[in-house]
């Protein structure tokens, strides 16, 4: 829409070329992400807690099941090897669920208004900045968990490419769930409701995935639930990469009640999950913001 009044400078100013728009989107996204990193550097306790907690899980759960008969979990030596993938995703997922918390506080303290009255190219930069920030912290946590699980006797068989695939899987899962969390932060009335939602979603989704026990331990109905749970599609590829040296994207990593699922299919499911999450969040943003 071009203004027809005697303000040519205005219309000129607000008809940015496509490249300009791209640069502006990057500028606003980078600035919003930078703020989150400054907060992290000056208030690191939440992030550090997010590293210490999974390490304790790894040590405690590892010790708890150390005496389990070999092959119970379908891995050779250590339960840690089985558990590492579960703890990595448990941690990354937990972090992703809290992605919306800073936003809900921004809403409650009025800081969000500062962003909403600004001529952002797209308000999705708010979602993108938070999601990328959470993805990066999740990757740091994953690295820490992996290193400690190696020290505890686990082996990572998947090689360097396998490491990248683990990183990709974690990023895809975290991106989707952090977008959903940010959507919740716009949709829910306040931080109490947000915390309640996180509580309700966190452990049930972990327990109904293959994080702690393999699929074949589960009754059929739970197997079905687990195979509908996005977490499973992130856990199983990582677990497979921990154990198998000769992996390929066609390797079957998950035996769902209805079919075998390959590593590639898992990645496709995660990408589809992200697309769905983004679509849902954009709908919420359109509805909730003037």
């Amino acid at each position: 829409m071009t203004s027809t009044t005697d303000k040519p400078t205005l219309s000129a100013q607000f008809q940015p070329s496509a490249s300009n728009t791209g640069a502006e989107f990057l500028q606003e996204t980078a600035a919003l992400a930078k703020r989150l990193y400054i907060q992290l550097a000056r208030r690191p306790s939440f992030f550090l807690g997010g590293i210490i907690q999974p390490l304790m899980f790894l040590v405690l759960f590892g010790a708890l099941f150390a005496q389990a008969p070999k092959d119970t979990f379908g891995v050779g030596d250590a339960y840690t090897e089985f558990l590492a993938a579960g703890v990595i995703i448990f941690t990354a997922f937990g972090g992703a669920l809290t992605a919306g918390l800073p936003l809900i506080f921004d809403r409650e303290f009025g800081f969000l208004n500062r962003l909403l009255v600004a001529p952002l190219v797209s308000r999705s930069s708010i979602v993108l900045a938070s999601s990328l920030f959470i993805v990066s912290t999740a990757l740091a946590q994953t690295a820490a968990i992996s290193v400690v699980s190696l020290l505890l006797g686990a082996h990572f068989a998947g090689g360097l490419t396998g490491v990248f695939v683990v990183g990709l899987v974690v990023s895809l899962l975290v991106f989707g769930f952090s977008a959903l969390s940010i959507g919740l932060a716009f949709a829910l009335p306040g931080h109490i409701e947000m915390l309640a939602a996180i509580f309700v979603l966190n452990l049930p989704l972990v327990f109904s995935s293959t994080a702690l026990a393999p699929l074949r331990f589960m009754p059929t109905w739970l197997q079905v639930v687990a195979c509908l749970n996005p977490l499973t599609y992130a856990i199983e590829p990582i677990r497979f990469l921990f154990i198998h040296k000769d992996w390929s994207f066609a390797s079957t990593v998950l035996q769902a009640p209805w079919s075998s699922i390959s590593l590639l299919t898992c990645l496709i499911v995660l990408v589809a999950f992200d697309i769905l999450a983004i679509a849902l969040v954009s709908t919420i943003l359109k509805q909730k913001l003037a």
């Binding site: 829409m1 203004s3 009044t5 005697d6 303000k7 205005l10 100013q13 607000f14 502006e24 500028q27 606003e28 980078a30 600035a31 919003l32 930078k34 703020r35 400054i38 907060q39 000056r42 208030r43 921004d106 809403r107 303290f109 009025g110 800081f111 969000l112 208004n113 500062r114 962003l115 909403l116 009255v117 600004a118 001529p119 952002l120 003037a290």
Partner: protein, 338 residues
């Protein structure tokens, strides 16, 4: 008016649940002036501003800022507006400079321009020395000034301020006033709300008085006061009078021929507020004293005043701004918090 109005609001309506927060507000704010919206809490001032700033979508009506249709092209409107909300919206873990840098980036200022603008804004609002400190160490006045600096950083044509001096000490308030006057000299239009009468009276070239979502009076403060007319006398029986005594005195004075109206001002120790029809209202004091003496009441003090904006409000609504504020705060909360 030769110049096109900087802000045009036509028949704006916004409802929250069963409450009609804005009920057909129409305003034209001329460019390069300070325009005040005066009204009690809950009158619809903030909602009007939030609609202008694209934070709220109105149910109906049209809004334009600097010739830009706000509803049709919100992004262009956001570019011309600087908005400073009533509550300071700062991330206290950042330094002042970091906050302004973030502000510059979300308004897409190129980095070289941002640097000079940030330095200028810090200088202008006396924050240069503390720019590298975290905002949580700032005083309330400094936070408000930083918030103002952020609102001005992209050089908006229209600055929209919601209660800019609430909670500030006198000195900070005077500084903000001087600063806003300075801005209008640079051609910036300032639209502000306040429920401080004196703030609007001192600062605004034009004022619109809003009550229950409607504009009940609009004009220059002088014109509005002139229209109300009459002379005011504030009479105190004692420093703090019991309400029965104040009522008795009011009844006694009401029968005097030159007394047009008597209001008991609860907020000021039940002082009696009289509108008198006399060229020199102080000449009526002896008659009042005599009448009160007959019923055994003394006079503690007398003050004369010209009509104020409060009288404009009183004439239009039948209550003072303070009473309206008290009524609003005792009524169930009706503000929608975002």
């Amino acid at each position: 008016m030769a110049k096109e109005a900087a802000v045009i609001i036509r028949d704006l309506r916004k409802q929250f649940g069963s409450i009609q927060a804005v009920d057909g507000v129409s305003l034209e704010v001329p460019g390069g002036q300070i325009f005040g919206l005066l009204g009690p809490n809950g009158a619809g001032k903030t909602t009007t501003l939030r609609c202008l700033c694209t934070l709220e979508r109105p149910d109906s009506g049209s809004l334009s800022v600097c010739g830009v249709n706000v509803l049709a092209d919100p992004r262009a409107a956001r570019q011309c507006i600087g908005y400073v909300a009533q509550e300071v919206a700062l991330d206290k873990i950042l330094t002042g400079r970091e906050l302004l840098q973030l502000q510059a980036d979300i308004y897409h200022l190129p980095s070289s321009l941002a640097r000079t603008r940030i330095d200028d804004a810090l200088e202008l609002l006396g924050l240069s020395e503390r720019a590298g400190d975290r905002i949580k160490t700032y005083s309330g006045g400094m936070m408000k000034r930083l918030d103002l600096a952020a609102g001005l950083l992209h050089d908006p044509q229209v600055l929209i301020l919601d209660e800019p001096t609430v909670g500030l000490d006198i000195q900070s308030r005077l500084n903000v006033w001087a600063f806003l006057r300075e801005l209008t000299k640079r051609g910036i239009t300032v639209l502000l709300t306040s429920h401080y009468l004196e703030e609007i009276d001192m600062l605004a070239t034009r004022v619109a008085i809003i009550d229950r979502g409607r504009v009940i009076a609009e004009g220059t403060p002088e014109d509005l006061k002139k229209q109300v007319g009459g002379e005011r006398v504030t009479l105190r029986i004692r420093e703090f009078s019991p309400v029965e005594e104040a009522k008795q005195a009011a009844d006694t004075l009401r029968v005097l021929p030159f007394v047009k109206e008597v209001i008991i001002n609860e907020a000021q120790g039940n002082a009696l507020y009289l509108v008198v029809a006399a060229p020199d209202p102080l000449e009526t004091v002896p008659a009042m004293r005599a009448a009160l003496k007959q019923v055994g009441l003394p006079i503690f003090g007398v003050a004369q005043s010209r009509p104020s904006l409060d009288d404009v409000f009183l004439a239009a609504t039948g209550q003072t701004l303070q009473d309206a504020d008290m009524a609003a705060s005792s009524a169930p909360s009706k503000k929608k918090k975002k």
